[in-house]
């Protein structure tokens, strides 16, 4: 709410139409007494860019920005390009660190506004469809319906219409933030980082808004631990039927496709499948839809020719879909103004006219911004076209691979263009000699970007060769994934709040994000399996949630079939699409609010301080690639949750690293006594890139250590840290174990004798377990 907004309060008003008691009016909005007084308002409702700056600076003092410039120059204004190497300043005075912070802010704002614009578009659509009075309805086990909204804005949205003001607040903030990236604005890298932390926080808000709106109106699972299992994998798509493929993140048009099919009794006759988060959200609505896969499957699946119609919405959609679709004679229907592809706009035209133009090939792509119309067009086109297309594909026949490979000169340009440096050159050379096995082996590791083909001087379709060679594997891709359950239930928080905060559940691990995996699709599932075995709460979202399905137990089950979908020790939940990431932050907030009874309303700094010091949670974004991942991760960081990125995350240019060897950085105030207490490097980093899966496993456990762990909880966590160190590094004990033992009781009993010797050799002295806070104002003495 703007600082200069007016509020009128009166205990009693006598008027010609009666006596009004407890009147409370804010300009632009009437509030009831109940709404105004559900909890005392905290210090920072609707924070502006500068409001939480001091909290940001506290974080940044401990977790200093670490820059790895991805480019030595700034190319943003016409006084450039400016060389900023090793201390040089550009024409505007900027240096390399500030420039990196500025670039990461821009990336973060791209991510934040992607979700925010999605929230805006979807909310406006839902208001038109269901009315602004449609309630926020998340079921009987969720009372704290919007923890991010309550924490950040200090309000409780009751209806879909209430969400519009919140979106407007977010839009105001991002405007300020983006303005600060113009030439000649912020001169401090730390304050650019503060702005990015703000953008991250706004992103969590935008995501929560989008997801609670769609859960409430579309009837998605409302935090159900037993959300249904759905099918994932290219092998699950029934290509004998007309196939509609939806690609993107915004489910508005996809839902209408399902409704149209149902309404016309065509749902058994037409196959609906989807790629990326649209797949998550369609299957939360319609469990018969098929999840083709994450964004890495776009090119492959489109080229397979299975899809008779391709509907695009927004985010992470390949910009060359029209070209690829035309090669397989599949028309494209763009349904969102963010991706128009230069198509003619047909929104106002009669449906049958559009259908006729597309089916006859007069137009290969159309822009239809009305989701109902787009849906009907898609279904009608698919039904008419499917028999004619005969699944025309752009992939070569398997027996042609060797002939195509014969053109290869061994220049290795394909390998050098590959983000993962895959040995595509060796594989194509082997295929030249008749051996296609190496091509097939690459499938598991290939992220499907197609850069190999762009780099080839002989126009060899390397990605196609890999896909065709791996045809058998692809057809066998049939996995089970739990559909997105949405938020964590308040009742679940009551069960797990205490063991999380006291450290008895060793931690919460969220596998989030994209599919730019460094070493293949299987690693996220392998990591999830390891954490589940160890009794962590494991949750997942987005592309990672899909690929966790690929892991099969010895009995051939997916982890979703093997483990319960509760938010609890040793359980695996899929919260849903990208926007559902807000619920995991929401869970951390709810722990502070429901379990620890910290005041929630407009009280961001205190709760972030609580989470940083008490809630052992970590995000692992193993295949991170997007700008959205930057904003989501930074939003988690501001809330005190650390994140481990896959190695490609190093290209984001900036990490927040702690220094375990600088003892002076690891002191807190003891809120009980006011003493300054050394707590050790917990958590050691706020965001960093791990090099290997093994490293990520060890650090995943380590980054769940918290200052407030009880001795029992610390002992549990250290036992996992030691065990993983033994298993993966072959070392008896981690070199830094002494930093994490505060008192003797922290030591797992089975290691006591050995560890006491180690501690003695390090000159260890016991400290205490404080009531930790970074905020001096929270000290009670």
């Amino acid at each position: 709410m703007a600082k200069d907004s007016a509020r009128l309060k009166a205990a009693e008003i006598q008027s010609s139409f009666g006596v009004i008691k407890g009147f409370d009016l804010s300009i632009g909005k009437i509030v009831t007494e109940e709404e105004a007084e559900w909890e005392p308002m905290g210090p920072t409702p609707f924070p502006a860019v500068e409001t939480l700056r001091s909290w940001d600076h506290k974080l940044l003092a401990r977790y200093k920005p670490f820059y790895s410039p991805f480019c030595d120059m700034c190319c943003l204004c016409t006084m450039g390009k400016c060389d900023l190497t090793a201390g040089k300043r550009g024409a505007c005075g900027i240096n390399i660190g500030t420039q990196q912070a500025r670039m990461v802010l821009m990336a973060g704002l791209m991510g934040c506004t992607a979700h925010l614009a999605h929230a805006r578009h979807l909310t406006e659509h839902l208001i038109k469809k269901y009315g602004s009075e449609a309630p926020i309805a998340l079921g009987t086990e969720i009372n704290v319906e919007a923890p991010n909204v309550r924490l950040i804005c200090g309000t409780k949205p009751k209806t879909i219409g209430d969400l519009e003001d919140l979106i407007s607040y977010c839009e105001r903030e991002v405007t300020q933030l983006l303005a600060s990236t113009h030439t000649g604005q912020e001169g401090s890298n730390l304050d650019y980082e503060s702005k990015l932390l703000h953008a991250g926080m706004i992103d969590l808000l935008g995501m929560e808004i989008a997801d609670i709106a769609q859960i409430s109106t579309y009837g998605f699972p409302k935090g159900s631990p037993d959300a249904p299992l759905v099918e994932y994998g290219m092998g699950t798509v029934d290509s004998t039927k007309p196939v509609i493929l939806c690609v993107g993140h915004n489910v508005a048009a996809g839902v209408e496709v399902v409704d149209y099919l149902r309404g016309n009794k065509l749902d058994e006759k037409v196959e609906v499948c989807a790629i990326c988060c649209t797949a998550h959200d369609i299957t939360r609505y319609y469990t018969k839809a098929k999840v083709v896969g994450p964004l890495s499957q776009q090119l492959r699946f489109i080229r397979s020719g299975v899809a008779d119609v391709i509907m695009t919405d927004e985010q992470c959609v390949r910009t060359d879909i029209p070209i690829e679709a035309q090669a397989v004679k599949a028309p494209v229907i763009a349904t969102n103004a963010k991706i128009c592809y230069g198509f003619p706009e047909r929104t106002a035209d009669p449906i049958d006219q559009i259908v006729n133009d597309v089916v006859t090939g007069a137009q290969n792509g159309v822009l239809v911004l009305d989701p109902y119309k787009a849906a009907e067009v898609a279904v009608k086109v698919a039904v008419k076209l499917a028999p004619k297309r005969d699944k025309f594909k752009a992939l070569p026949d398997a027996n042609k691979i060797v002939d195509i490979a014969k053109n290869c000169t061994g220049c290795s340009n394909c390998r050098r263009a590959c983000p993962n440096d895959l040995h595509t050159d060796d594989a194509v050379q082997a295929a030249k000699k008749g051996d296609v096995a190496k091509l097939a082996e690459l499938y598991e590791y290939c992220i499907g970007c197609g850069k190999c083909e762009e780099a080839c001087n002989k126009d060899i379709p390397v990605l196609n060769l890999i896909t065709v060679a791996a045809e058998r594997q692809i057809k066998a891709e049939r996995f089970k994934m739990r559909s997105g359950r949405g938020p964590v239930l308040d009742t679940e928080i009551r069960n797990v709040g205490s063991p999380i905060v006291l450290g008895e559940i060793p931690g919460i691990v969220l596998f989030a994000g994209c599919s730019n995996y460094p070493q293949g699709h299987s690693e996220v599932g392998e990591m999830a399996a390891e954490f589940l075995k160890r009794g962590f709460i494991v949750t997942a979202s987005g592309c990672s949630a899909m690929d966790i399905s690929r892991y099969k137990t010895e009995e051939g089950k997916s982890l979703y079939e093997e483990y319960s979908g509760d938010f609890d020790r040793g359980c695996l939940s899929n919260v849903g699409s990208c926007v559902a990431n807000a619920h995991v932050a929401g869970a951390a907030i709810k722990v502070a609010s429901i379990f620890a009874r910290r005041p929630l309303r407009g009280n961001y700094e205190e709760l972030a301080d609580y989470i940083l010091n008490r809630v052992g949670a970590v995000g692992i974004v193993w295949g991170t690639y997007s700008q959205k991942a930057v904003s989501i991760g930074t939003g988690a960081n501001r809330l005190g949750v650390p994140v481990i990125l896959g190695p490609h995350g190093s290209k984001y240019r900036r990490m927040y690293l702690g220094r375990a060897d600088k003892d002076e950085d690891w002191y807190v105030h003891d809120a009980r006594t006011g003493d300054r207490v050394y707590v050790g490097p917990v958590p050691e980093h706020l965001v960093y890139s791990a090099e290997s899966k093994e490293e990520a496993l060890i650090w995943g456990v380590k980054l769940c250590l918290r200052a407030n762990d009880t001795f029992k909880g610390r002992s549990v966590k250290l036992s996992h840290y030691i065990d993983l160190t033994r298993k993966l590094l072959g070392k008896d004990y981690p070199d830094d174990i002494h930093k994490f033992v505060r008192i003797e009781s922290d030591i797992p009993l089975v290691y006591k004798e050995d560890l006491m010797k180690i501690l003695k050799s390090k000159g260890w002295k016991p400290t205490s377990i404080p009531d930790p806070t970074l905020l001096k104002r929270l000290v009670r003495t």
Partner: protein, 178 residues
């Protein structure tokens, strides 16, 4: 021998690594007062003339260069009977190397030369970028067969036999004085 970046789009700016010969690498390492070798996970995947890169790393270790193992490489060294001087994530060691007050792996003083070997190409490039900007006085060497423009010195893009020859040349130069 090409000195275009191995990953061809990895073009950062005007300051680019100098092309390195094996002999020169050996001499640079030998002259350095406090050389350090950072070894990553590709050291066990990459084979050069029948030997894994990690074995060349051990040769350097035996020639007196301190070794930091990154990722999970501690175990790979240990399985080969070699105890590294430290192990930590590659970001951690880079963060320390860019700190002018850091007293080195053994607390005896800052390192003046660091060699990277076997860290995944793009990750190594990012770490070298950090050091280029924030530790401009630190000599950095990229010792893999792929050209790293962000280092001060880098082998060019080498084929297997060429790479072997350069590594052998480096070890000979190192042994000459000792």
């Amino acid at each position: 021998m090409s000195t275009l970046p191995w990953q061809t789009a990895n073009i950062m700016g005007p300051k680019v690594a100098s092309n390195l010969k094996g002999e020169v690498a050996g001499k640079l390492i030998q002259k350095a007062k406090r050389p350090l070798l950072v070894v990553g996970m590709n050291s066990v995947k990459t084979e050069v003339a029948g030997r894994r890169l990690i074995e060349y790393a051990i040769d350097l270790g035996k020639a007196g260069v301190r070794i930091v193992a990154t990722a999970h490489m501690f175990k790979e060294f240990s399985d080969r009977g070699y105890k590294v001087d430290a192990d930590m994530p590659v970001m951690n060691i880079t963060d320390r190397l860019r700190d002018p007050d850091w007293k080195g792996i053994d607390g005896k003083g800052a390192h003046d030369l660091v060699v990277f070997l076997g860290v995944p190409y793009y990750l190594e490039s990012q770490m070298l970028s950090t050091l280029k900007h924030y530790a401009p006085n630190l000599t950095t060497i990229a010792l893999d067969a792929e050209f790293q423009p962000q280092a001060k010195w880098s082998f060019p893009n080498l084929k297997d036999k060429e790479f072997e020859a350069e590594l052998v040349g480096m070890m000979s130069a190192l042994k000459e004085k000792s």
